[in-house]
């Protein structure tokens, strides 16, 4: 099969998405790994840009896509998603809400946060023994996730676990749009890219404090 690009956590950043799409090979399958629009400057335009790619895109639902739907509990503080919600039609919110939690291609499982849910937090430095339970019974050789906006590639419970990074709002050192092509990490620069307000180290500390435990 042709290559697979993973575009996670775009968060309504159309400029970042456009820069990445310019580098994705024309025949690639694109896995959009959730948190497509929330909190970003151009939620509707970002969603429609991706939908215009037709069935080249395989969609996953992230927590911030789910939490746009009325009454859904989650991580986003009250009010944070109101602006995004107001910029979308009911049909667009329904589309994001009804996407599946996982996609499987061959022996690779694509999920938003972890194989079990869209909320679990772990990073490159979360101790393996703390998070092995998430992967021990997963019927896949590779798991691709996102959610924490930090790219990594590590082994957990015998599985290769790749965090795709965030296209639209990474907490990385060098600014840019982070994604993968055939599981290889990519960073794409674009006009207007900015360093995050929270540094990488500060964000890793936050993730340590909130990391999932059995």
């Amino acid at each position: 099969m042709a290559s697979v690009a993973t575009l996670y956590d775009i968060h309504g950043n159309l400029a970042a998405l456009e820069a990445v799409l310019a580098e994705v090979p024309d025949d690639s399958t694109i896995v959009v790994g959730g948190d497509v629009v929330a909190g970003g400057p151009q939620p509707s335009e970002t969603l429609e840009r991706l939908r215009a790619l037709g069935d080249r895109v395989l969609w996953l639902r992230g927590n911030a896509d789910r939490e746009l739907y009325p009454g859904e509990p989650g991580l986003a503080p009250p009010g944070l998603l109101d602006e995004t919600r107001a910029a979308l039609t009911e049909e667009q919110i329904e589309f994001l809400y009804r996407n599946p939690p996982t996609v499987t291609i061959g022996r690779t499982l694509y999920c938003h946060a972890s194989p079990r849910n869209d909320l679990d937090i772990f990073t490159e430095r979360t101790p393996e023994e703390q998070i092995a339970f998430l992967f021990a019974n997963v019927d896949a050789d590779v798991v691709v996730c996102g959610h924490t906006h930090l790219q990594f590639d590590r082994t957990i419970a015998g599985r290769r676990v790749v965090n795709s990074g965030s296209v639209g709002a990474p907490y990385e050192g060098p600014p840019g749009a982070y994604w993968t092509l055939d599981l290889e990490p990519r960073r794409t620069g674009y006009a207007g890219m900015q360093e995050p307000e929270t540094s990488r180290e500060e964000w890793l500390d936050f993730c340590d404090a909130h990391a999932v435990r059995a």
Binding site: M1, A2, D27, T29, D55, R56, V57, L58, W59, E90, E91, I93, E94, F95, R98, N99, P100, V103, T104, I105, G106, R107
Partner: protein, 159 residues
């Protein structure tokens, strides 16, 4: 009354809407006219007539029938009432269920047990447990006459 195999599921009775007995249709068919006022639906196996029909949030059909129905009940129509599909890339779910699925090269993957409908793309669930996206990159050929679907290598578990 036609026998069960002559009917095709077109949705399920979803959550109530309003106080007059109306409800959302879950997993609704996109076929025009299926839920139109005056149409006959089989709800829980027994015929009922659509007495009110409109679109609710997200474009989902909201309908009311001429009798009470239980939430979760299957909604079906007679197969003969469905229009023929003119686009060669369009299929009814019932046409795909039961087809054998093989990879290019001939490896047998199983039979279609169910078609899961998602907003981005549908997914073929096979009796072997495999899940395959119903997208052009994966599904290379649907051969209704031959009773088979051919998929690209790489989407199914190689084991």
């Amino acid at each position: 009354m036609p026998s069960e195999p002559d009917r095709v599921a077109v949705g399920r009775v979803g959550k109530p809407h309003g106080l007059d007995g109306g409800f959302f249709v879950e997993g609704a068919s996109e076929r025009e006219g299926v839920y139109a006022e005056g149409a006959t639906l089989y709800a829980g196996g027994e015929p009922a007539t659509v007495v009110a029909s409109r679109r609710g949030s997200g474009g989902r059909p909201v309908i009311r029938l001429d009798r009470d129905v239980e939430r979760g009940a299957e909604l079906a129509v007679e197969r003969t009432t469905l229009p023929s599909l003119t686009d060669e890339d369009e299929f009814y779910v019932f046409q795909l269920v039961g087809l054998s699925v093989e990879e290019e090269g001939g490896r047998q993957l199983g039979r279609v047990r169910e078609v899961l409908e998602y907003p981005g793309n549908d997914v073929l669930e096979l009796d072997s447990g495999a899940s395959l996206p119903l997208v052009e990159a994966c599904v290379r050929q649907v051969d209704l006459a031959g009773g088979r679907i051919v998929v690209a290598v790489g989407f199914a578990d190689p084991d």
